[in-house]
Amino acid sequence: MWSKAHSTMRTSLLASLIAIATSLFAVAASAAEPIKIGFGMALTGGLAGNGKAALIAMQIWADEVNAKGGLLGRPVQLVYYDDQTNPATVPGIYTKLLDVDKVDLVMSGYGTNLQAPAMPIVMAHGMTFIGLFGLAVNDQFHYDRFFQMQPNGPNAKLSLAQGFFEAAMTAKPTPKTVAIVGADAEFPKVATEGARELAKKLGLKIVYDRSYPPATVDFAPVVRAIQAAGPDLVFLASYPPDSAGMIRAVNEVGLKATVFGGGLIGLQFASLKQQLGPLLNGIVYYDLYVPAPTLNFPGIAAFLAKYQPKAVAAGADALGFYLPPFAYAGMQILGGAVEATKSLDQKKIAEYIHHTTFKTVVGEIKFGPDGEWVEPRILFVQYRGITGHDLEQFKKVGTQVVVYPAQYKSGDLEAPFSEIKH
């Protein structure tokens, strides 16, 4: 009898020990299980220059967070796939991230074209979705868990053109006519729509209004046709290769305009700044951060000091003034919301982001109901005094003068464009 009781007790004790050990192991495992943040990113294709730069910024954030113990005591892990700058890959990528990889949080890829296709999938899963530089992505969806890092403001369509026109109309004599030209693609179409609305509002006569296929090789015919129309202002919305092609053509043809510029993507990158050099002088383009005294936000210098060496090694944008600080800030916001709500509940995270003003490396950010910034901060910058092709001159104050908005302005517009030395 004693042996039977002893045996039962031994079995019970053994079972208890196994149960305790298993639960301890489970606790340890879940504590170590990373918080997965998933996204697609342009690592190849036309937008890969910025995509790679954004990824470096996000990896810097992840490393910093993990060095401090992670989020909610768990390490963060970035799970990402190359969307090849091809919108058709995006639905599949986000389906895999959410249904197969079971990521806890998502971010967007770079660019309007690569964010919009992800929206139906993230909406179906109820995910909070922070967009990395898209124009009017949420204008049709009105998704209450979407947030946009590009500081477009509530009226994204107008914000890309507003600053150009407001700055340009300060030129003397007051401009009367405008030419509007852009690539046949999502971002330029939205930007030129905004330009058209503003031109009508300001009473400017639109004397040229055309688009071109993105694979256009020679832009001289386009520029000559614009020249023939004789506009005072030329608003261009373009991607990097066409930005370079148009600028070269403008200089070769000798465009006579009071102000030339607009939504030229590419002029924010080190490679184009370096290559085009003095051809950039006089162009009024949009940017989001330049080394001007009015834009010295806390943390930005330290971030750029970490980013720039990594970017050079990776063959990404060497300066990192455009997307990288905002990609990093987007992660700051997502991580901050997770920590503040102490959860991965998407509804709580989205509500927190809506109600909070975040202090980031690109300054204070507050989002409106549709996820756009309450206050737009699209800067319009004029290149001045660029000589040669040295990249260092772009790190200094003076070559990129902020002419709009008034809050960050560091100089007045110089015009006419045709008389500025290129």
Partner: protein
Amino acid sequence: MEISLDLLLSAIMAGILLGGFYAAVTVGVSISFGMLDIVNIAHPAFIILGSYAAYILNASFGLDPILAAFLMLPVFYALGAAIYQIYHLVFERRGDEALRGLAFFFGLLFITEVALVLVFGVDYRFVNAAYVGITLHYGPIDLPLRMLVPFAISILLMIGLQLFLSCSFIGRAIQAVSQDRLALQLMAANPTKIKRIAFAISIATAALAGAFLIIIQPVEPSIGRDYIGRVFAICVLGGLGSFPGLVAAALLLGVVESVTSTFYGPSWAPAVAFGFLLLTLALRPAGLMGR
């Protein structure tokens, strides 16, 4: 838009310069596809490889990109010979060239592109040359040297290749293998060796075309895909295997694109250009100067 004579002349001239560039980009496909029936869909990737070769020599040693391309001609020739040898042994000899050979070249296209991404990254690359940025002005006509120099060398390349095909033994053998491989074999010439030489020449031309491309516009590894449709369209429009036809087609396409772009808007340019192609093929299925 009002058609002014000055604008028309400028548009035509711009189109001619553009056409010269198109001819250089297409000549390799004209040899491989037009003469050898090898659907080398990877040719634009080799052009991008040529661009990066010119970029490396220009950035590292300050060499003019076109001079750099001439120095790389033997390397690209050897590469083309090696690729043909693999293609012949694995596909052509077994009669698998139709579909599997095409898949081979598709694979080569993506491998080349990804290799370039891994080595060079994805940023746009440019070259510096003394003539980039200089424009010659003759009345209403502007001739940017960035377009004029590639045009001039492209035309010289076409003339040189045509003379080679017409006047040299190997050149006539290449024409013969495209017409009747068996007959060439009966003439105691090795068709495989001739085809290898021809394919190697087609890839060698990619070195020059790549240098022209990176002079004209910034280059990143995936940009070659934009040219796949164009090069085959020009090759077919000119007539398979005809160099004079190729030049005529390239110039015509360039002018049509440029004039349409100037007077009716750049969006219409590809539609009109390819519409012109379809019309020509409807009236003359062999192409402008095809046999």
